[in-house]
Symmetry: C2
Subunit: 336 residues, 2 copies
């Protein structure tokens, strides 16, 4: 049984997470999302305790422009996967939520059936000042979900921007949802996003759009043969209807084929290793700034320097150099 004191003790919280207790899971994610230094120490202890029990899920990134039916697809896909005996966690990365007050998953009316299912856990995007901060917390939330027994983790991202790269960098398979429509330009897809995809799925292949969907599948199959040259995996282009649920089963089968192909080629572990390395550097960056902000000499010098930068009489790069020298107690920016 989870009690308030349990929640303050990383070892007890870790045990409760491993028992799959919902409240502990939610509380653990709230802990890793906190920016308080003492919380961060406990979050590290929690993650260290959970780490041996992580890594056993299929990590799937799902992206697509607004209007592609992403929520409906994730609900249909999630329910299908739960029906096959799995447990599904859905996390979100939405760095715009700082400005818009949260555009995805904040609304509890999304994915109603999935959110009610015992086999599912849905968590909104953390609020965050930077994409780096949001991505860091989502990666850690992924580990916590894995330790809690979720063997399929879906990381959803809004739209068509920088966050897609961040999500592709934390998952095993990046699934791009498309509309039944013409080329990238009509789809509103940012250049470079299609190149991130391990699997392309044309949604809304139903009713009047069925024929258009077939053309779209053919177009992208052709385009992807030009774009991607990987020995172990030719990016498949499928179609489905999240509404009628036609084709959802084939998407899940293809996820399994991708996993098998990557494991056989040794590329799954290679990809995860590279992701962990990138994550380390992201951690370093965020922690450094937090540490600098707390340094007494920086605090003393900061108001004047910030005022001169703000007034336009001091170049930000020069002010940054001065603050770094205060923080580090030695000159910076010199040649090695």
């Amino acid at each position: 049984m989870t009690t308030p004191s349990t929640l303050n003790d990383p070892a007890a919280l870790a045990a409760a997470v491993r028992r799959g207790e919902r409240r502990a899971l939610a509380r653990a994610i709230t802990l890793i999302e906190s920016t308080r230094p003492d919380h961060r120490v406990r979050a590290d202890a929690l993650l260290t305790a959970l780490l041996p029990h992580t890594g056993n899920s299929v990590r799937i990134g799902i992206s697509g422009v607004p209007g592609v039916g992403k929520s409906t697809f994730i609900e249909a896909f999630g329910l299908h996967v739960i029906g096959r005996g799995h447990k599904v966690a859905v996390l979100a990365v939405d760095p715009t939520s700082q400005r818009t007050g949260g555009s995805i998953l904040g609304d509890k009316t999304r994915m109603v059936d999935l959110s009610r299912d015992d086999g599912a856990f849905i968590r909104p995007s953390p609020a965050g000042a930077t994409l780096g901060g949001v991505a860091r917390r989502t990666r850690e939330a992924m580990l916590i979900c894995e330790a809690a027994g979720f063997d399929v983790v879906i990381v959803e991202t809004v739209g068509v921007g920088q966050s897609e790269t961040a999500v592709a960098d934390m998952v095993d398979l990046f699934l791009l949802l498309l509309l039944p429509a013409g080329g990238d330009e009509l789809q509103g897809i940012k250049k470079g996003i299609v190149e991130l995809a391990d699997l392309v799925v044309v949604n809304k292949a139903d009713g009047d759009l069925a024929a258009t969907a077939r053309h779209t599948v053919a177009d992208y199959r052709h385009a992807l043969t030009l774009l991607r040259h990987e020995a172990d995996w030719r990016v498949p282009v499928l179609s489905c209807s999240a509404i009628t649920r036609a084709g959802i089963d084939a998407v899940w089968e293809t996820v399994g084929e991708h996993r098998a192909a990557m494991v056989a080629a040794g590329r799954r572990s290679a990809r995860r290793a590279e992701q962990a390395r990138a994550w380390l550097w992201s951690e370093i960056r965020e922690s450094l700034v937090e540490s600098l902000r707390r340094h007494p000499d920086v605090r003393a010098a900061l108001p004047d320097l910030e005022a001169r930068v703000t007034a336009g009489t001091l170049v930000p790069a020069a002010a940054a150099r001065t603050l770094l020298e205060r923080f580090l107690g030695r000159p910076v920016g010199t040649v090695d």
Copy 2:
């Protein structure tokens, strides 16, 4: 006359930039784009010398999804503005260029007429590992262009993602180009981008699309009255045709009205002050990581820690803490 030795001396380079010498301008931007520590020291000296001569341009961010006709618009708009007696610099922010090898402005066939005009200077997006790095260099390039006498600086961004926020954070006016079409979803615009706009322009208002363009203008005018509530500026929605050049003059007039309204309300200087402050923090972040990477104790510990993180036996946050303690020579992450 600019000679190679001039280019190595920040004071001489600054003087050549201020005389408007093309080669010095290009070389100055190359210098600030360099990541070599000795180059960085010279770049700071250059920028400090130029700083009193900056800030006098109209800084305009221009964004829109692929297919909206951004290059054609910037060419038509730039030539119009030059015709009114101004000098126009066009810079680009494209953080995807690290992956795609540069998707905007790398192609010299874009904006042919504008690039040939003596009143124009066009610079491709710098390559960069992070959006922060790319944005930093673009901000400094903007200052250099201002010191060289360009009184209109256009910062172009591709697509519909995170980079729009970065660009909106460095300009006086953020112009969003739209297609003659239905709502945000059909346009492929990421949620939150329309909210960044100070001016919305529906392009391709010609031929068969003229009627659709009128509807789009009416739709967005209505939508923006719901979205934005600012005392000093109601976001205008205009239409134009970059091909026929109809409506381009009204866009430039509206830019002038926005500037006058912002200056009158004291908001132009407030906006620039806030931007400079944000820029300072971005500088600090990037410089800290560079400095950490060069520290001998970090270099000694890094391979083992990175290997354990990569192998999945050490939590990245804990490894980051260890590296920070090596770098700083003191514990981090403790409560104040």
